[in-house]
Amino acid sequence: MKLRLFCIFLALTVSVIYPPRVQAQDPSFVASVDKNPVGVGEQFTLSLTLNNAGMSGGKNLQLPDLGKFHVMSGPNQSSSMQIINGAVSSSITYSYILQPKEIGKFTIGAATIEVGGKKHSTSPFVLEVVKGSPRPSQQTGTQADPRAEIGDNLFLKASVDKNHVMQGEQINLAFKLYTRVSVSNYTVNKNPALTGFWGEDIENPKNISLTNETIGGKQYRVGVIRRMALFPTQSGTLEISPMEVQTTVQVQSRRSLDPFESFFRDPFGQTMNHIVKSEPIKIKVDPLPSGAPAGFKGAVGRFTMNATVDKHTTKTNEPITFKVTITGTGNIKLLESPIVELPTDFEQYTPKVSDNISRQGGRISGTKSFEYLLIPRFPGEKLIKSVAFSYFDLGKREYQTLRSPQIRLTVEQGAATAVPIVAGAQRGDVKLLSQDIRFIKVTNPSLSRKGEYFYARGEVAAMLLLPLAGVAGAFVYARRRQTAMMDAAGYRNRKAIKVAQKGLRQAEQALKAAGKNGMQVSEQKLQFYTEVSKALWKYLSDKLDIPPAGLSIEGALFAVSQRSTNGDISAALKSLLEICEMARFAPTSLELSSMQKTYDDAKRLIVELERILKSA
């Protein structure tokens, strides 16, 4: 009662300062009891509460049939006005204290009241009267555990508008806080995990407005904590996990006999933290039917499409904006950009995507637009092919494909000075662009006839062949020189016998002369042996190709024995050469007959040697 009086005081104070701004909420008329069931003979309070009827209240209150109860007192009228976070709510309560007469279930019928000419009635509810003594001790003595009391009177409820949907279909989810106690504050501890959904907040108020709702005959103050639109992104059974909210509840302080204690206490009473949790919700999601068109990317709902360009005629290097707008109801935020086939010689950038979502009436709708910036680089007639967008229509339960009309563009030649600097040019390249080309060549151009190759000319062939001729000449010269050197030995070889025979003829003349003239015999003899010796040595030198200076008897014999196996010839040659040597140093000891024999031997030996050395 203390609190209520305070509230009235506060309401009056506020209404003086601010004129009452009663929100345009419909009046409601609710009946409730403070306990259900009640024991026989136990007193209870029936409250008929008129909400939002303004301070003037209602007229013609008509009570239901209360024949089974004793009316102990009433009606007691009390009014209150609450301003919670700027929302004004007023209520007038007519309360009756009743006492049941007998055990049983009784329906308390509708009570009616007139507000502004309109009749409002309460909904009937069942009151159970059980056998049992009243528990006055609890009422009058120490209070029950406040926590247990809160548990019954404060809970969080999650609700959905449907729990069997198609993939991509919208579900409305609401979290409501029901309370019969005074909640001064709350914080969300844990938001629900929306695995498998894409969620969009419809309402996530900082200030909650309260309404009244009666469940099982008990009246609750109800506040929506959060309202969301969910779009399942996968099929199967999905679960919305609980939300957890921590509330701060005001509880009435225990009565104290000490007046000072109550004086110092918080006039609002004690506060207490209490955590409430919603129940998890299971949602069954059906997959979309098969046969989706090729361009389908998961859009579900109902959409329209519009494709426009900002101008149909442009110049090269002047950009055009091509805009595709999709409008409708459904999972609009999840829409992907449709495939746009652009002329290949347009420079294009990634589209600018913007969306505008409306939450009107709890349905997610709005527009999503894709803006393509196109820069034509070359003149001509260009064609933007039609854009296709596919979605699943929930109303018709089938796939729909929207096509935009083709768009023709005319690109004219723009200013020629515009240099297309293509993205990806190196920094060095950009630096280079600021430079100019270098000057022409003014030196002798050294022109040549086209198709006439330097290496196909006659002079070139001559220049190539001339050194080869030089090589040939060098080889011929070398060859001839070698041949000449080779011939000297061969000549001597071949002429050896003739030279020897010529020498022997001179020796024969000397021999004849020695036979005729008796005088100067020794001189003739010496000449004879000299001639024979010379002829022999000359012959051996020529034939064996050994210079005369390097020739000795042993050397000559060795060379001969190498060429011939005949030992007689070697022996004969040796004796002949020795005779000649001896005769040259002691000529007088030799007779004419031995001279003749020496001459014959020499002649025969040369012929023999000629035969052996040639055949060897």
Binding site: D345, F378, L432, I437, I440, P445, L447, A474, Y477
Partner: protein, 252 residues
């Protein structure tokens, strides 16, 4: 009056072209026109030298410059690329070609190659064709001289020196000869072309009705790998392949 003067000028230039002027004189005149910033006339004069059957690196380079100044980037690139056959390592040419390539719409990243390929290309580009030909010729003569020295040497010492010289210069000659052959075949190749039309759609097969492979714009260098009637099969530096109408490009 002014138009009469212009006509006179045109007639004078025209008769100069017709009358027996040496191409060298014409070249000098075209250069003068360029210096007077009469790029159109200079271009025509250079073109008349080319159409008379003459060519050189300087001629194509200057012609490329006149096209660049006239705003025809594709023709400029075409002539720069032709000049590159004669003067592959000319600094001015490479600068202008790089600049012209920045002006075209398509940016084609060449497919990565083995580094040896780059070395080989650099070595090839280090010589002009005539320079390399002369170098090869001198090494050839040197090698032959060494062989002659070996042939006619009287002493062992000269023969040894000659033999070493012959082996060394012979090997150098073979390397240069390979380089020269590669260079000549590069010079003679006719499978590189420049896209000269504004924009052309490259098809997947040589047929107008065929699906589009990609789009090329003016100035892009392509390699021709096959020819069928009015179509050529092309390959880009990044490895893309398609069929292009023959008239869309001009062979370098």
């Amino acid at each position: 009056m002014k138009s009469a003067l212009t006509l006179l000028a045109v007639l004078v230039v025209g008769t100069m072209v017709v009358t027996g002027q040496t191409p060298e004189q014409l070249f000098i005149q075209a250069n003068q026109l360029y210096q007077q910033e009469r790029f159109g006339e200079a271009r025509d004069a250079f073109e008349s030298i080319v159409s008379a059957g003459y060519e050189s690196g300087a001629l194509y380079y200057n012609l490329g410059n006149t096209y660049y100044r006239s705003g025809n980037i594709a023709a400029a690139i075409l002539n720069y690329e032709r000049a590159r056959k004669f003067i592959p390592n000319d600094d001015d040419l490479l600068h202008n070609l790089q600049l012209a390539n920045l002006m075209i719409a398509d940016r084609i990243e060449p497919a990565p190659r083995l580094f040896l390929w780059d070395y080989w290309k650099n070595v090839k580009d280090a010589f002009s064709l005539s320079g390399l030909t002369w170098l090869t010729y001198f090494v050839y003569v040197g090698a032959i001289g060494c062989i002659c020295a070996v042939a006619i040497a009287r002493t062992y010492r000269t023969r040894k020196v000659g033999a070493f010289g012959a082996i060394g210069s012979g090997m150098l000659f073979l390397i240069l000869l390979v380089l020269l052959v590669a260079k000549v075949s590069d010079f003679a190749r006719d499978d590189l072309a420049i896209v000269i039309v504004g924009v052309t759609t490259i098809k997947n097969s040589p047929d107008k009705q065929s699906t589009d492979a990609f789009v090329l714009h003016t100035g892009v260098k392509v390699q021709i790998t096959d020819r069928v009637n009015e179509w050529v099969k092309i390959r880009l530096a990044d490895g893309k392949v398609g069929w292009m109408e023959k008239t869309a490009g001009e062979v370098i």
